[in-house]
Symmetry: C2
């Protein structure tokens, strides 16, 4: 199944089933919102599946054309957004560029931060920011949505709690990060609202690309229409999703609808070094910070700036046949002025 939340009804939108090719949609009958569905997933999933099958067969009543611009995030707000940093290559690069050693334990103990989840952005919402000087960056990630996960779950058992997958743009304010991390409490202002793909999909929609642990497809990102990255989300992911979910649930349970993110997707180069830019035939990056680090490491000088007002970021993932799986995140950075 592919599920979207259209901006109709209340704050949580209206749960909508979307056809596999992302062209048609129908409002779900079994639950008004995605959170409502996740709260009682086992009982509503069969009914949702029936409706999805009818939509696919062209027999669903009241189907309409699917328009990603009408979508909120699949969960417009959520009770938990725990974002891992599973591509340790990314962490090592970012640290190297600022001259910080990476502890060996980072290869065995996942990094994870708690993100704000009360005001997510839809896939086509602008990224509103008061100040370009904050260093506005994107981060292309895969995220999973779980049902109720008991505290202390094993990674093995955690795998069975993954109900949905989606893409995420974990917007980051790079120039606020050093000051914030120096305070010792982790990110807060440096991580504004994240955006998610038009649809969340059940694992069975992904076929062999999803092995229950990793999603083995390239993450395609572009800035102003120019390809920026295509690293494979299934490669160099040091901690798989069940491991990340178990990490998040070690000392507390996770409630149905909790979102766990992969962190910025990042691949090493074939020779083991940092990946090369797409323009040089490499796999590129899933955030600007990483390109800047590579520029500094390889050439001694950072050449690429962060996002400016008017810049456009797109994030998408396609199956082996070139079909968009989640629809595209497609956002423009725009200036924001706070109300007086």
């Amino acid at each position: 199944m592919k599920l979207a939340s259209l901006r109709r009804g209340g704050r949580d939108g209206t749960l909508t089933l979307v056809s596999r090719d992302l062209t048609r949609a129908v409002e779900a009958q079994a639950a008004p919102t995605l959170q409502d569905a996740l709260d009682v997933w086992d009982s509503v999933a069969p009914e949702l599946e029936k409706q999805a099958a009818a939509l696919e067969a062209g027999t669903a009543a009241e189907a309409f054309a699917f328009e990603p611009a009408d979508c909120a995030a699949p969960l417009p707000r959520a009770y938990q957004w725990a974002d891992g940093s599973a591509y340790v290559n990314h962490v090592e690069l970012v640290r190297k560029a600022r001259g910080a050693e990476m502890p060996e334990s980072f290869w065995s103990d996942p990094l994870m931060y708690q993100g704000g989840s009360d005001a997510f952005l839809g896939p086509r919402d602008p990224i509103l920011m008061a100040d370009e000087a904050w260093g506005i960056d994107f981060e292309a990630e895969v995220a999973v949505v779980v049902d109720d996960v008991p505290m202390g779950v094993s990674a093995e058992a955690a795998a069975g709690h993954i109900r949905l997958l989606m893409l995420c743009n974990d917007v980051s304010l790079r120039n606020l990060i050093p000051g914030e991390l120096a305070k010792g409490f982790g990110f807060f202002q440096a991580k504004p609202s994240s955006a998610f793909s038009p649809v969340a999909v059940t694992p069975d929609e992904l076929g062999e690309a999803w092995d229950g642990q990793r999603l083995k497809l390239p993450m395609l990102s572009a800035i102003n229409g120019e390809a920026f990255g295509r690293p494979d989300a299934g490669v160099d992911m040091t901690f798989d999703f069940p491991t990340l979910v178990a990490h998040a649930a070690r000392t507390r349970p996770l409630g149905a609808g909790a979102i766990v993110g992969s962190g910025t997707i990042s691949n090493r180069d074939a020779d083991g070094g940092p990946g090369r830019p797409v323009a040089e035939g490499g796999l590129g990056y899933s955030c600007i910070a990483e390109l800047r680090m590579v520029e500094k490491i390889l050439g001694g000088e950072i050449r690429t700036g962060f996002l400016r007002f008017g810049d456009r970021v797109t994030i998408e993932m396609k199956d082996a046949g070139g079909r968009s799986l989640f629809g595209a995140i497609d956002q423009v950075v725009e200036p924001y002025k706070a109300p007086a």
Copy 2:
């Protein structure tokens, strides 16, 4: 108004109005859950107030005896839990004891971390933990609940968004903190589920004790029935609530129902030094870690251990007349065994 969420109905409980003296209650007619009420606060508040007045007058139909043990947290799950550390005295002490200097900026730039909000504990729920060796501690705090707060709000304007106040036990796993903070991403596993008081109250219930910025009353905590702390929440609070809300909303909006915490309440001694234990006639502390720090600073040796299985923590706040304002958080630490 005093509002509770009884464990009836769904995951979010049933919104219930509670009498000022915490003896009687009636299910709210205007909204099924507290989150539903907060989503449309301005339109439902007058109706809730009418019902609360009837309860107070003894004319509410279907009123029943209020039982804190039947309560979930006022918001059993929330979309945002942003916990400040506004009593900088506490931060300075904790740092001093581990030999770390506190940056001067901590007096002007609030510390805040993002907490998990998908599975809060009710006021009488046990604190279930797999391992005593994690260093189980309580933290007695005041927390506010806001309505929709625009990004970039000023502290002045933020004051008008505070709709409810409640008490919090921000359970902390002290022995997990150093390793987690060393990774640079802030707390995660070190901050398990927090618990909240039986009722959340509107600011007008607090009279002169609430000046729109700080709640000026002693925070009473006890361990196994023995007084542990009574520092005044209105004293030594370097950052007031509107400042904390504005800090949380600097780069993103806060959704209705977001919770912002004060951090552990901590008072300096009259001579400016660290407060003294209650047993020595002092104001005591709102967490065990602080007592341990004072023991180390004053006597060179830590004597008090963290909570053990079977230990009981109570947190309460009383008005000038000695009446409990929020009801008591009253929790016993119990061993937890993860499902196989």
